[in-house]
């Protein structure tokens, strides 16, 4: 029983952190930018989804009454709102942190600082506008528990895990097969060769930033099934995403997935050990990552594929 809870918790956390980490890793490897505003995207999309859900809830309830249809419709609305706003926020990051400085000196450091400033501004702006009170998103997967094979899991956990698997699968499939994905990978590997193949860095970077933004938005909706939306709710996922991206070796998507799974389980296990508890979770994570980084200075990435230097 205890183990099953740990397992599900671990997978749930891994799913959400994985979404964040892959966004960060992807953006780094394709456009060479560390997106510190990923947490801001997370929080802002959470709020956007909350606003939309709040506005439409009465309407949907009035139209369809209480039932499965309403729940699924609300789920659709919330997810679309979150992902859509995340993509919009990604476009904003593109406009501020990529477009003006991408061919100027010190781009990596400067874009990091710009995204950090965006993060700071967004968190404070949300705090100022919405206040520190937490908001509750509609339960898109309904409430309840499912038991099978002796495992018991809440709907939201199963939903988060499945949704993440689907989203990640779709994203990776898109990257592998579509033309845009080919262009993104070409740009990752050789920017000059890419422009000579008629691939515009500026127009390829936009879908990447929007995609990673949408991933952060989805992560926000999924995590808010378990916890609430608050102005600072993006900070922890950002730190987790960043640490996992680094643990996996920046720029390596398989590394990020592996890192997310490891960290997710580590957190769930540490949280479940009675004398350690939730307060030591971050402590244990960082300790683990420090040890890994000391042994493997470039993270796990090199083990799995060739990452951008």
């Amino acid at each position: 029983m205890d183990i099953s809870v740990t397992l599900i918790n671990g997978l749930n956390l891994a799913a959400i952190y994985g979404l964040m980490a892959i966004g960060i890793s992807l953006l780094w490897s394709s456009v060479g930018m560390i997106n510190m505003a990923h947490g801001a995207t997370f929080a802002a999309s959470g709020y956007a989804a909350w606003l939309v859900a709040d506005a439409t809830k009465a309407l949907v309830l009035a139209a369809f009454g209480k039932g499965l249809l309403t729940t699924s419709l609300m789920a659709g609305i919330t997810l679309t709102a979150g992902a859509g706003f995340g993509a919009l926020f990604g476009a904003l990051i593109y406009l501020l942190a990529f477009l003006p400085i991408h061919d100027k000196p010190n781009f990596p450091v400067r874009s990091l600082i710009v995204t950090l400033a965006i993060n700071l501004a967004t968190v404070q702006g949300l705090l100022w506008y919405f206040g520190p009170k937490q908001k509750n998103l509609p339960k898109i997967f309904g409430t309840g528990k499912l038991e099978f094979l002796g495992l018991s899991a809440r709907y939201d956990q199963i939903g988060a895990i499945l949704a993440t698997a689907v989203i990640l699968g779709l994203t990776l499939f898109w990257l592998k097969t579509s033309r845009k994905g080919l262009e993104i990978r070409a740009m990752m590997q050789n920017p000059e060769g890419a422009v000579l193949s008629g691939i515009s860095v500026r127009w390829t970077a936009l879908p990447v930033t929007m995609l990673t933004g949408a991933l952060a938005g989805l992560a926000a909706i999924l995590l808010s099934q378990t916890i609430f939306v608050s102005p600072t709710s993006g900070t922890m996922p950002l730190i987790k995403g960043l640490t996992i991206a680094l643990l996996g070796g920046l720029g390596s998507v398989p590394g990020a997935v592996a890192g997310a799974i490891i960290i997710g389980f580590l957190e769930a296990i540490v949280g479940a050990i009675p004398f350690l508890g939730q307060r030591y979770v971050l402590f244990a994570t960082f300790l683990f990552i420090i040890i890994v980084l000391i042994i493997r200075p470039r993270g796990l990435g090199g083990l799995l594929d060739e990452a951008r230097k």
């Binding site: 033309r179 080919l182 990978r185 590997q189 050789n190 060769g193 193949s197 008629g198 691939i199």
Partner: protein, 236 residues
């Protein structure tokens, strides 16, 4: 249609360089439709810079570059590479010096990168076949990673990428660089076997022997200037 007669490329007064360094000096250069031009000259005399200036990849440049009669040059002092995709789409296919290619893609994907126009993308399979006909060794390497290929095969991929669309002007920079003589001869051979219907080809090469007798015109480059094509007073 090209407005300036049959000139695919017409460069007038092109000056270009990197930072305070000036590499090209007032270059005037023309390439007509269907022409094969050899650009010869020693290392460091501006052949590569000329190609990079045509594709807007140098630090700064000024002067007019007409590609198919449309201006793609002009004065520019920042953002190298920003206009390149547009120039490429205007009908330029350039193979950069060395192996400026994508090591993590397979040969097929790499060739697909070259097919950037919607039409070329649609029938990319046929075009790949065409490239494989020109470079037969690539056919059985279709799904191999480019980074794992030998130097000659990589050069073939690099040139093949440029052949994936119907460009008007092909700039091939040092196709023989760093290759064994036999392989470089076969690469050049394949280049000259291409049909010349309306496209123009400029090959930069240090090894004059590889080109002599096969190009319509040989142009020398010396110290950032074109020599052998124009001159005020002929000496002998």
């Amino acid at each position: 249609m090209a407005r300036s007669g049959a000139d695919v490329l017409k460069i007038t007064g092109l000056t270009a360089g990197y930072g305070p360094l000036r590499v090209l000096h007032e270059i005037d250069f023309k390439v007509a439709e269907g022409e094969r031009v050899g650009l010869v000259g020693l290392n460091g005399h501006g052949k590569t810079t000329l190609f990079r200036a045509i594709s807007s990849l140098v630090g700064w440049q000024s002067g007019s570059i007409l590609l198919n009669g449309a201006e793609v040059g002009g004065a520019r002092s920042s953002g190298p590479g920003r206009r390149t995709p547009a120039i490429v789409r205007a009908g330029l296919a350039m193979t950069p010096q060395g192996d400026a290619i994508f090591p993590g893609l397979t040969v097929a994907q790499h060739l697909d990168c070259g097919a950037y126009t919607p039409k070329a993308w649609k029938d990319r399979k046929a075009r790949r076949d065409m490239v494989f006909d020109i470079f037969p060794p690539l056919r059985k390497l279709e799904h191999a990673l480019v980074g794992r290929l030998s130097g000659g095969e990589r050069r073939m991929v690099s040139v093949g990428r440029a052949l994936m669309v119907e460009a008007r002007l092909y700039l091939i920079d040092e196709p023989s660089l760093g290759l064994a003589p036999k392989i470089s001869a076969s690469v050049i051979e394949a280049l000259f076997a291409l049909p010349q219907d309306g496209r123009a080809l400029v090959i930069a090469e240090q090894n004059v022997a590889l080109l002599s007798g096969r190009v319509d015109r040989m142009v020398g480059m010396h110290a950032g200037r074109i020599r052998g094509d124009v001159g005020h007073v002929s000496l002998h």
